[in-house]
C-alpha cells in the first residue's frame, strides 16, 4: 500500500454530512466559494440525522399561535440554568426560517387543513414539533438536503473519507488529513475555512441509539487543534430505549412516537406506574422529560422493582387494537413478525445513550477560539445546557449548519489560499507499524463501551468515575502510539484504532468533567452529591495541554428575558 498522500485544495472543507454539514455546504455554495463535503461513511447516511424519527421543535405558529421566545424560555428551563443563552436564542429564533426553507426544498412537513401541524413533546409549553411522518422525519430531512446539494456544482461530495486530524499553520486551522477508506490512502486537504459537523459521542456507551460513526470525532479533532470543549459531563440518555424482547430492523428509540400518539404506561415489576414518585404523574400522557425519566427508571431498577432485563415495562395493553393499528399500521405488522403483540404484552425499555449536550465551544457565528475552525450541529456545545428538549437537535443542526456556512463563506472570500501546513505527524501515524501482540481493536471498543456504561452512565459516583479513569488509562496504554496494521482498503482494524484514539480522549473528557461536578443537575446525576447547588451554576471548559486534560469553570449566564 502506497502511503504517498493525495493532495486536494478547496475553499471550505465541511466534515460530516448530517443535517448540519449538508446545510452548511449549501449555504457556502450559495455565497460562491467552493466546498468539499466529506464523510467517513456515505454522504447523508452515516449520522444521527438519517435515524431521527419524529420531532423537530420550532415556533412556527402556523396551526396555533407561538413565538420563538416561548420556545427559548422552554429551552432554558430544560437546560437547568446552564444554556448558552445566545446559542439557545439563535436556535429558537432562526428555527422557523430554516424549517420554511426545508419546506421550499420539498421536505413535506405534515399538514392538517393545509397548515403545517405540530405535535406535543415533553418540556414544551404547547404543541411545537413539526414532523414528516411518525417514523420518517430524519430520512426525509437527510434526503431533502442531499438532493438540494445536487443543484450546486461548487460542492464536491466524498464519502469514505475519515478525517483523522485537523491541520494548522500559523495558529489557524487550514484543512485536515483524512484516511480514504476505499483505497487506504492518506489525503491532505487544504482549506481556507474548516467546518466540523461530525455529530455526537453516543458510541462511547454499550447501549446507544446512534450509529457506528458517533465516537465523538469532532470533539477530539477540535480539542487536539486547540479549541476548548464545554459541558462535556452532560450526556443525554433517552429513557425508553428498547430493551427486550430482541427486535430486528427497528430503531431502539422507536417507542417515542408511540408515546407521543398514545401515551402508554411506564410500569415497574409490580405493575404499578411509578413516575409520580419522582414528581411527574403521567396519567396516560407523555410528559416526563428525559433527565427525570432516566433517573426514575434507574432508581426503580436499583430498588429491585425493575423488569427482568433491568429496565421498566412500557405498556399499551389498555389501548384498543383498532387504535394501535390506526396509529401505527405497518409497524404493528413488523412487531408481530418479531413476536410482539402490544395488546397482550408490555415490552421492556431502559435508558440508552442518545445525544450530547456538551461539545465544542462556539460563539453565535459558530466560530471557535481557533481561527479557521468553525463548528455546527451536535458537535457544538452549550445551546441545551444540562438537558435537551426533544426536537431541539434537528433544529440545532439546521440552524447552526446554516450559520456555520455563512461564517465560513465570509472567511473564504477574504482569505488567501493558506500556506501548506505541516502534515508529517499525522501522515507518519497513518503509516502504522507491525506489532506481534496486537490486541483485538473491536474488543477494545467493547471494553470502553462497558466502562462508560457501568461507571459514567446517568447515575455516577466518585469511586466509579475514578475507576473509569484508571481503566481508560489502561486501554490507552494498550493502544500504543500507532495503528498496528497495513492500512489496507477498508481496514476496520485501522479504523478501530483511529476511533479508539478519539474515543479514549473524549471518554476522559466526559469522565473528568463528571468527577469534578460535585452536584446533580439535568443529565448529570451524582449519587454521592444529590441535588443542584447554586455554586455549581457554572459551565466547565476543557482544554488539552501537552496531552493532559485541564478543566476550568466560568459562571453560567444569568437568565435574561427574551424580547
Amino acid at each position: 500500500m502506497s502511503t504517498e498522500p493525495m493532495r486536494v485544495e478547496t475553499d471550505v472543507l465541511v466534515i460530516g454530512s448530517g443535517a448540519a454539514g449538508m446545510y452548511a455546504a449549501i449555504e457556502v455554495a450559495r455565497a460562491g466559494p467552493r466546498v468539499l463535503l466529506v464523510d467517513r461513511s456515505l454522504i447523508g447516511r452515516g449520522g444521527a440525522t438519517v435515524m431521527a424519527q419524529m420531532t423537530v421543535a420550532v415556533a412556527l405558529g402556523d396551526e396555533a399561535p407561538d413565538h420563538w421566545s416561548h420556545h427559548y424560555q422552554d429551552t432554558l428551563t430544560a437546560g437547568r440554568g446552564l444554556c448558552n443563552e445566545a446559542l439557545a436564542r439563535l436556535l429558537t429564533e432562526h428555527g422557523p426560517d430554516c424549517i420554511r426553507e426545508m419546506e421550499d426544498w420539498g421536505v413535506g412537513w405534515a399538514r392538517k387543513d393545509g397548515k403545517i401541524t405540530s405535535a406535543f413533546a415533553p418540556g414544551h409549553d404547547r404543541p411545537r414539533c413539526v414532523y414528516v411522518d411518525f417514523l420518517n422525519t430524519g430520512p426525509a430531512v437527510s434526503k431533502t438536503l442531499r438532493s438540494a446539494l445536487y443543484r450546486f456544482k461548487e460542492v464536491c461530495r466524498a464519502g469514505d473519507l475519515c478525517v483523522v486530524d485537523l491541520l494548522k499553520s500559523d495558529g489557524e486551522v487550514t484543512g485536515a488529513v483524512a484516511w480514504h477508506m476505499g483505497s487506504g490512502a492518506p489525503v491532505v486537504i487544504s482549506a481556507k475555512a474548516t467546518i466540523v459537523a461530525t455529530g455526537g459521542l453516543t458510541r462511547l456507551y454499550r447501549r446507544n441509539s446512534a450509529s457506528a460513526n458517533m465516537g465523538g470525532d469532532g470533539y477530539a479533532l477540535s480539542l487536539r487543534a486547540g479549541a476548548p470543549l464545554i459541558d462535556m459531563e452532560f450526556v443525554q440518555f433517552f429513557p425508553i430505549g428498547h430493551l427486550a424482547p430482541r427486535l430486528i430492523g427497528m430503531d431502539p428509540i422507536m417507542w417515542d412516537p408511540f408515546r407521543y400518539k398514545l401515551g402508554g404506561k411506564l410500569l415497574n415489576n409490580r405493575g404499578e406506574e411509578f413516575t409520580q414518585a419522582y414528581g411527574v404523574p403521567e396519567d396516560g400522557k407523555y410528559v416526563i422529560t428525559r433527565d427525570v425519566g432516566t433517573y426514575a427508571i434507574l432508581k426503580e431498577v436499583e430498588a429491585g422493582r425493575g423488569s427482568p432485563h433491568g429496565g421498566a415495562f412500557l405498556s399499551f395493553q389498555h389501548v384498543p387494537e383498532a387504535k394501535l393499528r390506526e396509529a401505527f399500521g405497518p409497524v404493528i405488522d413488523r412487531l408481530a413478525a418479531n413476536g410482539i403483540d402490544l395488546t397482550k404484552m408490555p415490552i421492556e425499555v431502559a435508558p440508552i445513550a442518545h445525544y450530547h449536550m456538551g461539545g465544542v465551544q462556539a460563539d453565535v457565528r459558530m466560530e471557535t477560539e481557533v481561527p479557521g475552525l468553525i463548528v455546527a450541529g451536535e458537535a457544538v456545545g452549550g445551546a441545551n445546557g444540562a438537558n435537551r428538549l426533544s426536537g431541539n437537535a434537528i433544529t440545532e443542526a439546521l440552524v447552526f449548519g446554516r450559520q456555520a456556512g455563512r461564517t465560513a463563506a465570509e472567511r473564504a472570500k477574504i482569505m488567501q489560499a493558506p500556506s501548506p501546513a505541516d502534515a508529517r505527524a499525522t501522515l507518519d501515524l497513518l503509516r502504522g507499524e507491525v506489532r506481534r501482540d496486537a490486541p483485538n481493536t473491536a474488543e477494545m471498543i467493547q471494553s470502553l463501551q462497558a466502562i462508560m456504561a457501568d461507571d459514567v452512565g446517568p447515575l455516577r459516583n466518585e469511586a466509579g468515575l475514578k475507576r473509569a479513569l484508571t481503566r481508560i488509562g489502561e486501554l490507552d496504554a494498550m493502544l500504543g502510539e500507532r495503528p498496528f496494521d497495513k492500512g489496507e482498503p477498508f481496514d476496520l482494524t485501522r479504523l478501530d484504532w483511529l476511533d479508539l484514539r478519539t474515543m479514549l480522549c473524549v471518554a476522559r473528557a466526559v469522565t473528568q468533567a463528571a468527577l469534578n461536578r460535585t452536584e446533580s443537575r439535568g443529565a448529570h446525576q451524582r449519587e454521592d452529591f444529590p441535588g443542584m447547588l447554586p455554586e455549581w451554576h457554572v459551565n466547565q471548559t476543557i482544554r488539552l495541554n501537552d496531552g493532559r486534560i485541564d478543566i476550568s469553570q466560568t459562571k453560567a449566564a444569568v437568565e435574561m428575558a427574551a424580547q
Binding site: L42, A158, G159, A212, I248, G249, M250, P489, F490
Partner: protein, 114 residues
C-alpha cells in the same frame, strides 16, 4: 450444547482470487446477520471488512450484501442456526471482503486507480 450459526464468509480483495472462511457464531433468537458478523470481529478476527452505520435501525442502507445468493440488508436478515453463506454484492465493484463500492459516482472521492 447451545446452538450456533455457521457463517461461511467470503474474504479477499479480488473477486476471482478470494476465499471462504467459516466461523461458528453463538446463536440467540432475535439476532441479525450483522450481529453475527460483528461477533466475528470482536471474538475471532477484527480484520473482517463490513460496511454498516446504523446497526439496528435499517436507516443507513449501507449493509447490503448477499446471503445465500440473495441481496439482503445484513441488519434485517435474521441469523439462523444453520449454515449461511455471505458474499459481497456481485453487481458492484469490490473494495474488500464484504464491502463493495455502493455510493453514487457523484458522492465518491475521485482517487486515481493504482
Amino acid at each position: 450444547m447451545s446452538e450456533t450459526a455457521t457463517l461461511k464468509v467470503w474474504r479477499g480483495r479480488d473477486k476471482v482470487d478470494g476465499r471462504y472462511e467459516t466461523h461458528e457464531v453463538p446463536f440467540e433468537p432475535g439476532q441479525s446477520v450483522l450481529d453475527g458478523l460483528r461477533w466475528i470481529r470482536v471474538h475471532k478476527d477484527p480484520t473482517l471488512a463490513i460496511r454498516y452505520s446504523c446497526i439496528n435501525a435499517n436507516a443507513c442502507k449501507e449493509c447490503m450484501m448477499e446471503l445465500d445468493g440473495k441481496t439482503v440488508y445484513a441488519c434485517t436478515a435474521r441469523l439462523e442456526p444453520r449454515a449461511m453463506t455471505i458474499e459481497p454484492l456481485s453487481n458492484k465493484k469490490l473494495v474488500r471482503d464484504l464491502v463493495t463500492e455502493i455510493a453514487p459516482p457523484a458522492e465518491r472521492f475521485a482517487i486515481k486507480d493504482k
